[in-house]
Amino acid sequence: MQSLSAMFGPVQQAYLLEARQMQALSFAVHIPLVCFGIAFPAMVLRAEWLWMRTGDEIYRLLAMRWTKVMVALFACGVVTGTILSFEMGLLWPGFMGTFGAVFGLGFALEGFSFFVEAIFIGIYVYGWNRMAARAHFVSGIPIVVAGLTGSLFVLSVNSWMNDPRGFAVRNGRITDVEPFSALFRNGHLGYEIVHMYLAGFIVTGFLVAAAYAVGRLRGRWGRYERIALTIPLTVAALAAPVQVLVGDWAAREVAKTQPTKLAALEGVAHTQRGAPLHLLGWYRDGEVKAGIPVPKGLSLLAFHDPDAEVQGLDGVPAADRPPVNVVRIAFQLMVSIGTFLAVLSIWYLFARTRRKRVPSGHWFYRLLVLAGPASVLALISGWVTTEVGRQPWVVYQVMRTTEAVTAAQGIPVGYATLAAFYACLIGAVAWILRRLARAPMATVAEPEHALGDS
């Protein structure tokens, strides 16, 4: 079958860029939604658990109202994920046809996680008031576990694309395929899953807390709101400082396995020892303009050694370099937002542990309102760093995106259609959330009404 794999060689595709943007757009819509799939069930369960512990109906009311939000966002996560699965084949048949056997298993495992997640979401949601309290709580646990395993398996694929192994290339054919070592023994999976899982809690936590912070600034601040703010904020605030440490791990791993990506992150044109770090600025003509240099900073951060050699972009031919500014700006955005979130978190944790109360100043809540959208921006920037930094490779140093892309015509039409649909989807999500937030609060004595008749 020699000829068969040859049918998926490089193709003429005038719209490769559009195809890549289409992929990126779909991810940018899917990934914030799945943060809620990862973290929100745990928060709902925490509220339910507090209800079971204390018998205080206010927790039950909260859990029920949040359940409605969880279901709506989960449905949107499901459909955007389905689109992504289609797109893998629609846009990148060369990639799927050549490497499907190597990484496909990761998606097969993920598929079962999705089954478990979808099934138990069904049970949990429709089981409110229809199951014994303890059984109902327990039925929520598989959702949390499946959120973790689902992310793990899908990230195994992405980490393999960035650090490919577990196969050999002979005469242009893929042989000696070892799916397990490809997916689970690569150097990137470890930090990707930890970093992404934490990101799920950070994004969900800060977004939900931001919603109640807006309320507080407008004077809606009773016991219910305070509880609804502290549950997500506490988790996010504990996760955010940890995220900085994991980010350092990520950067050091990238320095080791993807030196060109690191060079793009920092705008390092030439290979050098004791490389400086630049804050802000932009990259042009081989240097970072208008940035604030930190001497030896990069060598120190990336290798924990001030005199370590850092490979520059000139280490590879120009055709093998990613677009520096996109990657660099995205990276700087993520790191600055990450630092901001960590500082805000420490403020909150300090107030909670030392003063035994939530912070009281307006400024804290104003910053918290900002932290919600900022965390989403950090999430997307992180992915842009990873994925655009990998360019021009789809499988790092093995397959180029030009070899992966579809030969089909009409990508711009598909792109425009999809973009329009996503715009509607985002509008729909906004509408749903507003509606659910404004739904009249059932009295604490009768939380059943909180669930409506869905």
């Binding site: 048949p93 138990f120 014994a132 350092d248 749903i432």
Partner: protein, 408 residues
Amino acid sequence: MLGLHLYELPLFFALQGVALYAILAGADFGAGIWQLLAGRGERAKRIRDHAHHSMAPVWEANHVWLIFVLVIVWTGYPIAFASMASTLAVALTAAGIGIVLRGVAYALRSASAGAAEVRAIDTLTAAGSVIAPFALAGAAGAIASQRVPVGNAAGDLWSSWLNPTSIMAGVLALLSSAYLAAVYLAADARREGDDEMAAIFRVRALVAGSVAGAAAIAGAVVVRSDARWIFDRLVEPPALLSVALSLLAGAATLVLVYRRRLDAARISAAIAVAAVVGGWALAQNPVLLPGLTVRQAAAPDNVLALLVVVILLGGLILFPSLGLLFRLVLRGSFSAQPRAERPAPPASSTGGVASTLTATRLAGACFAIGAALLLLGDSAWPRAAGVAALGAFIVLGLSALAGEDSRE
């Protein structure tokens, strides 16, 4: 297993996924079609509500079958998957849009209030429910009529799935989905003691079933002239047996519905749909795409073996979970039956001051240890230990801060 070769096994499972998707998601789409045809007014609203409530708990799980099929095909038969997905790009985009409409409408309905809003949203559901099955069945028709050549978008983006066979397959999919849904909705209504809905959907099932049967016969003529190769293989054994089974089961369903044996009809309707998928598979075997047999398309043996193991192990988790969900839905334990009220435990304060203080200190220590390990460690074990310590920091932090602070 069942006399199948290793290279056929994943496909065998994928086809079961196709059949289950056609049945379960088919019923879901069919429910959307009935919402579309419900008309206006109070009775129409009750029809649409019944269709919604009946499908709501299960629709997500039903749709995962499609993902299941996709991932098996792209892992086990990558070349075939890449060829199909690239040539059928337009069909799959259309199907994707249909599925998005279905999902978003579901999410919207959970937040909607007024009758007008709900009607508008149900129209979205209905649009998705028509587009998705039509496009997916059209794609199946493209494969069956040998219009998907091997290669990167080697076939025609439009005529591959908008041709007589595909259109016929699309129409049949819509009709059989409507038929399935009507049978299921009638049975659900009966269970819930809603005689009005049971009667309404019983009549709809009888009509849709008769129309679907007639369309199937007309469809045979279409396929015969458009795709002779697959037609000839469908009307000879072994595929013929499966086709015959489908016709029999379809007719039996009509009789059962007529005699109000709705639960039995549920099963025979499912068999009718599954047998179509089976017949198609038997007719195509061993050809997957023109010039490409199942064996040629298959991934290396070790990958196939792993895939089969994953599917079987996954099945061990999946089927009991699905069983639980469907049992709860079908047995009506989900229908408003008051939950045994729990005695509220005495409001316990979440830990004393002392234990909170200990937890805070412990959390701090874990953070310091974890940070050191992660920053200084450069190999797997110190990092794993660091992640564990940081995890402990988060858990301890949560327990230290579990108490509600009553002060502002």
